[in-house]
């Protein structure tokens, strides 16, 4: 059974296809879908293609169902590896998660930054 797909358009014009159920992790998008104000293409005007691709990767991994089983342990390990990025990227991921209202990604980003500050790895200059 094919699932419904929607398109996300990044600030630099790139298009990304994503399953609607997966996209619903973004509460902002979920609200738009319910309000029926999507025309199958949703412009995400403040997120670059590079960051949006990572956000979609995160959402795909965290959309756990019968077709995509994943244990908590595996997910935690994957999250840790996923956040092994430079602080510029983490910063923009956090912004994207904030604007798209992805609670789990936001919490992950917060904890990552906090851990970096604790370990003196977050450079302020």
């Amino acid at each position: 059974m094919s699932t419904k797909k929607i398109m996300l358009k990044s600030s630099d014009g790139k298009m990304f296809e994503i399953e609607e159920e997966t996209a619903r992790q973004c509460q902002t998008i979920a609200h738009m879908i319910e309000a029926e104000c999507t025309d199958n293409v949703i412009p995400v005007s403040n997120v670059t293609s590079e960051i949006l691709e990572m956000v979609i990767e995160y959402c795909n991994k965290h959309h756990v169902d019968a077709a995509n089983p994943c244990s908590d342990e595996d997910l935690k390990k994957w999250d840790k590896e996923f956040m092994e990025k430079d602080q510029y990227t983490i910063f923009h991921l956090m912004n994207a998660a904030y604007d798209l209202h992805i609670k789990s990604l936001l919490a992950l980003a917060y904890q990552t930054v906090a851990d970096m500050v604790n370990d003196n790895k977050w450079a302020f200059e």
């Binding site: 104000c37 412009p43 510029y88 919490a107 917060y110 906090a114 500050v117 604790n118 302020f124 200059e125």
Partner: protein
């Protein structure tokens, strides 16, 4: 950041906003200077410089400050310890505001043990006065002390220009759960909301003092009562909007209350006072009621329910009558009362005071002042009834005469050690003798101050009546002559204050020092203008253990100071020669000679001593505090 979705329609499903409901809150904070009470581990200093992120693949720097407050807040609350939060708080005013708004229960990780260990919880004390009382300073204190054991005591003394508000107290409430004592003075900008924050965050609060807090009402006190069951001390002064409702809540919830002081709070009435005392778990030991609109009912309740009261102060209770004091004494509840102070209460009559004396069998100390209706009969009856009395002080009781004074001395029993009579204008000199067998052997301290009618005959009677006197204070008694003073010399005197006794002579000082040289420790003859260098020669020759000498405004000169310095026995710690115009720079070597033991030297208004001499003494006598 702008909205990221370019579409029209409803967008109120997620409203972005500051972490504060009122966006102006953050701007209430003033600029953060070097005063900030924020702790920095050395390893953290270098990295907290400029909150900017640089991209490897984008030249334009991105400021972390563009993150919404919620994001920063969430990061800060996940930091592993108070030191890390302190370091972040010092980056900017905005960050300080955010860090100080984190409640302890919102911190996502258990705090690390402080370097001092856990013994120090709540051991830090901070005080903010006047212009220094600002919300920024409070926020800095809140964050800074959290990493070093926690704030235990906070005092804020505001001024008309104080920029401290509920926002500052919120920082304290959220970051300082160990706060045990809070004192707010003259801060009309702090309201009930500030106290609500303290109540919510500082459940360990034990002492609360509110003085001239005109915007705090019963609501704030009720919040404290409900959330701070360990409250032991409550002080309210000039809080015009706090009344019985607040006290009722305190009475219901704070069973450990030991001390209550309420002054000049017009809304506090009998019901509030009654609720504090009639609580079954009440263990109130100290009670002060001053300038309140309470009636005889309150005193009746005190007399009946004040079973644990040891210290009682009643002052300026203009609506309390004789009946109130009579009922209080007959209530037989004040069995543990140790100390009683009654000031400016019209209800203190002979009958009222006698009743109080009978009702408080264990009272050791009594101070009765500004009681115009109290006469000799009442005073003597009180003395007879108060079998345990050790100290009695009368001040501005203008109907009390010499008969009341001597009558109370003779009737006070064997325990009276100290008697003080101040500004009692009806005291005259005795014209009749006292019974030959009478004596007051326990009396060690006698103070008669500014009673102009007190004369030689009275002193002669005291000399016979009180052979064990050690401490005598006859300040401002201009009616006593040389012969009167000489009646006192048979005692083993330790402290003497004859300041302002203009008839004091060298002969008296010579006789007293000859007789009491081995016991005298303190001698004050300030303003005795007939005292000359001869007295200082006697002091130098006779006094072995004198440590405190005040010869201000006496007729002494350089040779007198020289005599003091030449004594090998004298080891003065405090010397005052203020206003001695005949003491000149020539005394410099003598003062330096005395300086090996001196801790305090008063040279004020010594017009013949130059500034250069004072400067030299300040440099040379480095252990000594010098007033000039």
């Amino acid at each position: 950041m702008s909205q990221i979705f370019s579409f029209a329609g409803e967008n109120d499903f997620y409203r972005r906003g500051a972490i504060y409901p009122n966006p102006k809150d953050a701007s209430l904070l003033l600029s953060l200077g070097s005063f900030a009470d924020v702790y920095f581990p050395p390893s953290k200093r270098s990295r907290v410089v400029a909150p900017t992120i640089f991209s490897a693949f984008e030249k334009k720097p991105v400021s972390i400050d563009v993150l919404p407050d919620e994001c920063l807040f969430e990061i800060f609350r996940r930091l592993s310890g108070p030191q890390e939060r302190s370091a972040c708080a010092f980056v900017s005013k905005q960050w300080l505001t955010l860090v100080s708004s984190i409640r302890q229960k919102e911190i996502d990780v258990p705090s690390k043990i402080t370097e001092d260990g856990d013994d120090c919880e709540g051991c830090l004390s901070r005080s903010l006065d006047g212009k220094k009382a600002t919300d920024v300073r409070l926020a800095a204190i809140a964050v800074g002390t959290a990493g070093r054991g926690g704030l235990g005591k906070l005092s804020i003394r505001g001024s008309n220009s104080a920029k401290v508000s509920d926002l500052g107290l919120r920082s304290i409430g959220r970051s300082c759960p160990s706060l045990g004592s809070l004192s707010l003075w003259n801060v009309s900008t702090i309201t009930d909301n500030g106290l609500l924050e303290i109540a919510e965050g500082c459940a360990q609060l034990e002492k609360l003092e509110l003085n001239r807090c005109s915007t705090i009402t019963d609501k704030g006190l009720v919040a404290i009562a409900k959330s701070c069951p360990n409250l032991t001390e409550l002080t309210l002064e000039a809080c015009s909007r706090i009344g019985d409702e607040g006290l009722l809540a305190i009475a219901r919830s704070c069973s450990k209350l030991k001390s209550v002081s309420i002054k000049n709070c017009p809304l506090v009435r009998d019901q509030g006072i009654a609720s504090l005392l009639s609580n079954t778990t009440c263990s109130l030991a100290k009670l002060k009621l001053q300038m309140l609109n309470v009636t005889d009912v309150s005193l009746a309740v005190v007399g009946h329910y004040g079973l644990s009261i040891t210290d009682l102060v009643l002052a300026g209770l203009s609506h309390v009558s004789e009946k109130g004091f009579w009922v209080m004494g007959n209530g037989v509840g004040l069995q543990k009362l140790n100390s009683l102070t009654i000031t400016a209460c019209q209800g203190v009559t002979d009958m009222g005071l006698e009743s109080v004396g009978k009702g408080c069998p264990n009272m050791k100390k009594a101070i009765i002042s500004k009681s115009p209706l109290l006469s000799d009969n009442g005073l003597v009856s009180f003395a007879k009834a108060s079998l345990s009395l050790e100290s009695l002080q009368l001040e501005e009781c203008h109907r009390v005469t010499q008969f009341g004074f001597f009558g109370s001395l003779l009737n006070c029993g064997e325990k009276l050690k100290a008697f003080s009579l101040v500004n009692c204008l009806s005291i005259r000199d005795l014209t009749t003798g006292l019974p030959a067998s009478s004596h007051c052997s326990a009396l060690r301290s006698l103070s008669i101050r500014n009673c102009p009618g007190f004369g030689d005959a009275n002193l002669a009677a005291i000399g016979k009546l009180c052979p064990q006197l050690e401490d005598i204070d006859l300040c401002g008694l201009k009616g006593i002559t040389e012969s009167g003073f000489l009646h006192l010399i048979q005692s083993s005197l330790v402290k003497i204050n004859f300041s302002g006794c203009s008839n004091l002579t060298d002969r008296v000082i010579s006789a007293i020092t000859a007789r009491n040289g081995w016991t005298l420790e303190v001698l004050n003859i300030d303003g005795c203008s007939n005292i000359t260098d001869a007295s200082l020669v006697s002091i130098a020759a006779n006094c072995q253990i004198l440590s405190d000498l005040d010869i201000s405004k006496c007729a002494i000169s350089d040779s007198g100071i020289q005599a003091l310095a030449s004594s090998d026995k004298l080891k003065l710690q405090i010397l005052s020669v203020a206003g001695c115009s005949m003491v000149t720079d020539k005394s410099l070597p003598a003062i330096v000679g005395l300086g090996s033991t001196l801790l305090g030297l008063n040279l004020q208004q010594c017009r013949s001593i130059s500034n250069s001499t004072v400067d030299f003494l300040v440099e040379r006598l480095y252990k000594c505090d010098i007033l000039s």
